[in-house]
């Protein structure tokens, strides 16, 4: 295992020190591993709290700041944070207007946020609402399983709902907006290589030189199926096909994200985006906005994921609103 770390046990705590040193727009509660927007709680604003396992940077800590999250709870690598962290963050961002929990749909994340909401109800007067993001078409959605995973749409949702929160909209509206966004977005990912959890010390899985994992998640969990290594052109088709099969995108202009898994060089991501753009162009649906880069990663995994969101004028307006975070910044 080759990593720029000290002790594998200290990776998350020490990365938080670095984020605190680097980013003027946040402050860090190291005891509780919470990254706060520096000026939280913001008056006349619903607090947005997210969080999850670490190893997906810039998600979530890199999306704390004006126009996105008010706080992010950092779990251990690939492990949901704990209810006490989330409760503390909830208290720390509440300005009397309630708090929205943005949760990626993983059993651990859902249960820990659930307990946090129960604690908030029992111990505080804070109104908490929860939106669960589940956009990964690689996973069959079913009442009898854990359901689809939350992946790329999380990034777009945090941006869009963050912009709406900045406008002073009430919690119920933000929660409804978040659900609309979740329903309008789908993602699909693939991996060329595995990642290595620092404390595990070796790759989570092995892929031969001529293989790739299709439908990979963001935790090194195996994907839908192992298939022969394909060209960028074919991979673009393989990512796009299940997304388009799952949802009708024809009604709206798109927000598209071509996301790197952490170890993929930008030149490959741009090349992939070119392939994706060609396919979308054939469909005739206009792409209004796009992101190409590492936005929701899986440590040093090589690979990419594609996220498509069916937008409208209002979502585009929210997209263009100012944002100032480590991971996304414009308009300010």
């Amino acid at each position: 295992m080759k990593k720029l770390i000290n002790d594998p046990q200290d990776v998350v705590a020490e990365a938080l020190l670095g984020i605190e040193a680097a980013r003027p727009e946040v402050r860090v509660d190291h005891a509780n591993r919470i990254i706060y927007r520096r000026d939280a709680p913001k008056a006349r604003k619903v607090g947005l709290v997210s969080g999850g396992g670490s190893g997906h940077e810039p998600l979530h800590g890199g999306y704390v700041g004006l126009g996105m999250l008010d706080a992010a709870c950092a779990g251990q690598i690939f492990t949901s944070p704990t209810p006490d962290q989330m409760l503390e963050a909830t208290k720390g961002v509440d300005a009397g207007n309630g708090v929205l929990h943005i949760v990626k749909n993983y059993t651990g994340d859902v249960m820990n946020f659930e307990m946090a909401a129960e604690l908030a109800a029992a111990e505080t007067g804070i109104t908490v609402d929860t939106v669960v993001v589940n956009d990964d078409v690689a996973v069959q959605d079913s009442l009898y399983t854990a359901g689809r995973r939350g992946v790329g749409v999380t990034v777009l949702l945090e941006k869009l709902v963050g912009a709406a929160a900045e406008e002073g909209r009430p919690l119920s509206e933000l929660a409804a907006l978040a659900r609309v966004i979740n329903d309008a977005g789908r993602s699909m990912g693939m991996a060329l290589t595995s990642c290595t959890v620092p404390a595990a010390g070796k790759p989570t899985f092995e892929l031969a030189e001529d293989e790739m994992e299709l439908g990979i998640g963001i935790h090194g969990e195996p994907g839908r199926r192992r298939v022969p290594l394909a060209s960028a052109r074919e991979i673009a088709e393989q990512l796009m096909e299940p997304i388009l099969a799952d949802l009708d995108f024809s009604s709206g202009p798109l927000i598209v994200m071509l996301n790197g898994m952490g170890g993929t060089p930008l030149i490959e991501l741009y090349l992939m985006y070119g392939e994706v753009a060609k396919i979308i162009e054939r469909s005739g649906i206009p792409v209004a906005r796009n992101l190409v880069g590492n936005y929701i990663t899986s440590l040093e995994m090589a690979g990419c994921s594609l996220t498509m969101l069916r937008a409208d004028e209002e979502l585009i307006r929210l997209w263009d609103a100012p944002v100032n975070t480590a991971g996304l910044r414009w308009g300010i």
């Binding site: 779990g75 690598i77 492990t79 307990m115 854990a146 959890v197 989570t204 899985f205 090194g220 195996p222």
Partner: protein, 213 residues
């Protein structure tokens, strides 16, 4: 003649033995989680039980419910992931069911485990055969209750539970996961042992070992 009750010291001993077993099997638990999950179950359980033992080294609750509430809250606050809330809820409900006592007889132990299982099911919504820790916990509890029904003693009940947990754990191998992270694999999850069922079996191994002395 073997004792008919578990003292609070033995319950603490149970937890210490569980900690030791988790450490001993940490790499294997993580290995199991690599195959059908995200390669952290051993790490999670080791971190959580280390925190529990740390806590118990500082304060030694005198009552079973206080002991298990401490264990529960420490697990919830230190593990995270799926196993944190599940093991946490297990001990929290256990504590609530047995109340402010200083020892447990066989029936009380079964009552506690029963409540614990109900908590896990409520929190995680998994049933038998979904390839989770429930597949070790449920058979263990039922084996214990069967022994009690036929008038067996504490040691026999716990031994039966331990063996049933191990069988239940082994039975997860061919299952297709329907809950937790392994469910994302669908059919590909078959052929691998569930890591949570493996750690749950260690919990019963530790209990049997503690009672054996």
């Amino acid at each position: 003649m073997p004792s008919a009750v578990i003292t609070i010291d033995q319950l603490t001993g149970w937890l210490r033995r569980f900690h030791q077993l988790v450490i001993k099997n940490q790499a294997e638990l993580t290995e199991l989680d690599s195959a059908i999950g995200d390669a952290d179950h051993g790490i999670n359980m080791a971190r959580g039980m280390a925190a529990v033992i740390d806590k118990l080294d500082g304060e030694q609750p005198a009552r079973v419910n206080d002991l298990f509430k401490t264990v529960a809250m420490t697990l919830v606050m230190s593990v995270g992931g799926a196993s944190g809330p599940l093991y946490g809820t297990f001990f929290l409900r256990f504590a609530g069911a047995v109340g402010s006592v200083t020892e447990l007889d066989t029936a009380a132990l079964a009552t506690g485990l029963h409540a614990g299982r109900a908590g896990v099911v409520e929190r995680g919504k998994a049933g038998l055969g979904d390839k989770t820790m429930i597949d070790a916990l449920s058979p263990a509890l039922e084996a214990m209750e069967a022994v009690i029904k036929t008038g067996g003693d504490l040691a026999a009940a716990v031994t039966a539970a331990r063996d049933a947990a191990a069988d239940g754990r082994d039975a997860t191998v061919p299952m297709v996961a329907r809950k937790g992270r392994a469910s994302y694999l669908g059919e590909r999850s078959a052929g691998h042992m569930d890591p949570g069922a493996a750690s749950m079996t260690l919990l019963f191994d530790a209990l049997a070992a503690e009672l054996a002395g």
